[in-house]
């Protein structure tokens, strides 16, 4: 685990002519797998481009492992692996040749690149297929080749742009398992750009949610899902639910009722005390009293709501 954040953005802005791609973006990406989540056109690709040092910030600062990727692009990119979103790869090149070439591009000597390209292709399950031209491979195999070329040179961080695009559900799960394995077993940090909530929820440790060129929220999934200020109260006796709800409203909480469940929003932890007191006063036995755990979808909808 590193003490320096892998990626740190502070008030980053980027425009192309009159189009604002990113506006006052601040976030930190730490170790493990981080999902860069957002709809198409949200600014994810611009962010990836900036992390790769391909675009300069109009204002603010961006650091990758403590280094400005725009001014020290070659040094930063040497330690990065990148799997592009598109599937168009040179058709005549054999998979092993392509992966070896990319490994050499990232500074590996020829012999080492040769060995490691083979190892990387075996790791992603294409050991037997490594001498096949890329043009003859299926979308699933190409996605694996892209992962192999991203990791062959042993980068510190890999950037994966929509790595499950075009895969069926089984292939998708296999790819996500593979990405998880690359991170956990080999200690390679992953930044995964995706518009699929499930995917991020399934394998990521943290997420940066982007929308309309802004970072809507970011943090570990644990923090994001637990960050709702709502309190969930489950009452045993259905008849007492309206009484409790009325009591909570009188005490100043905002209330939403669904069956035996009441979701109360109020000022921080005081809601817990109010809920306990109201239930005691109404003689309503509580079966559950907890902070409401949000799904990533809830977080996304909450942060992207107009």
């Amino acid at each position: 685990m590193t003490s320096v954040p892998l990626v740190e953005a502070q008030n980053v802005a980027k425009s192309y002519g009159s189009f604002t791609a990113l506006s006052d973006v601040s976030f930190t990406i730490g170790s493990g797998i981080t999902g860069l989540l957002g709809a198409n056109g949200a600014g994810k690709t611009t962010l990836l481009g900036m992390i790769l040092g391909l675009h300069r910030c109009d204002s603010g600062s961006l650091r990758v492992m403590g280094i400005d990727p725009y001014t020290a692009g070659a040094k930063v990119r040497e330690g990065l692996g990148y799997a592009p979103e598109h599937h168009t790869l040179p058709e005549n090149l054999k998979a092993s040749e392509f992966v070896r070439h990319v490994a050499e591009l990232h500074g590996l000597p020829k012999e080492e690149a040769n060995t490691r390209s083979s190892d990387a292709l075996w790791l992603v399950g294409l050991g037997e297929e490594r001498f096949r031209p890329l043009g003859t491979m299926s979308t699933g195999q190409r996605q694996r080749v892209k992962l192999a070329q991203a990791i062959a040179h042993d980068p510190d961080i890999i950037l994966l742009d929509e790595p499950t695009d075009g895969l069926d559900p089984v292939q998708r799960d296999e790819m996500l398992d593979l990405i998880r394995r690359v991170s956990v077993e080999f200690g390679i940090h992953v930044i995964l750009s995706s518009h699929l909530l499930d995917e991020v929820q399934q394998i990521c440790d943290a997420a940066v949610i982007v929308g309309d060129g802004r970072v809507l929220t970011s943090g570990t999934l644990e923090d994001l899902r637990g960050s709702g200020s709502d309190v969930l109260i489950e009452i045993e006796d259905l008849d007492t639910v309206p009484l409790v709800a009325a009591g909570l409203e009188q005490a100043g909480a905002t209330v939403m009722v669904s069956g035996r469940t009441i979701i109360a929003t109020g000022n921080d932890d005081a809601v817990f005390d109010i809920a306990r007191d109201v239930c005691a006063a109404r003689n309503a036995p509580i079966t559950r009293l907890s902070r409401r755990r949000l799904s990533l979808e809830d977080v996304f909808l909450e942060t992207t709501a107009p």
Binding site: G49, Y82, G107, R116, W122
Partner: protein
Amino acid sequence: MTSPEINTASTNDAQIFDRGYRSYSGVRTGVPGAIKTVISQSVRSVLGLGRSARHKVIPVVVILMTYVPAIVFVGLAALLPDEIGDGFLPTYAEYYGFIITALFLFAAFVAPELLCTDRRSGMLGVYLSSPLDRTTYLLAKLLAVMTILALVTIGPPLLLLIALSLEGSGPEGWINFFETLGRIVLAGFMVSLFFSALSMAVSATTDRKGAATATTLGLLVGSAAVGNTLVEFDYSRKFLLMDLLGLPSELAFRVHNELGNWRDIESVFVWLAVVGIIVACGSWVWLRYRSLLVRR
């Protein structure tokens, strides 16, 4: 009864090779290494090395077209008496006249193959996410195109020099030999650079390989037609400098200190025209790539 022999050697000698992905902590070759691998991969790709036979057809034909005259001249020089053989041997600069067609066909084929393909196949995005940036990527591609063209601009005259020297028809003495060698290398380098810059400029303008090849050929032939037509109509002879096909050959004459086909045009103008076109084409390529939105 004897017990069957058990071949223990095979089991004892067996080794398990630990195959698997692991971390790498060795040296990294940085930008120079990246440039080197781009050059090597590009040369392999254009020459069809490691590919099926059909990928080798164009390079093999072009290389044969440029080397065969040299081999024929060397053979004739060896077989015929000196006084006859020396009479028809071309000078090193004149040799470009025999190979210029193959040379410009090759130039029109190589750069589009290397630049347009990278943009269309998404490899450019892969290159730019490596330690290379746009400038070092273009430098690597320029060196690759020049290396391939140098095979036909330096190789055949060099073969001629070595072969003629071995059979005693080459330059007299070591000093003359090395002077001629230097001129061959400089002329070949400049001709390669000229054609590389020109075809890269066209290839930077369109993503379509076929269009880039056709435009390069059209530009070379068209400029020759326009330049010569203007001179025919009694305009200044300097309009010949527009002839992009004749200009590199003429420069080769000047490098070899020979009178070329454009004798009334001073060498300084020939050099200025060549360098000016190289700089203009180079600037165009750089500007195009600087503003290129890379699809990743």
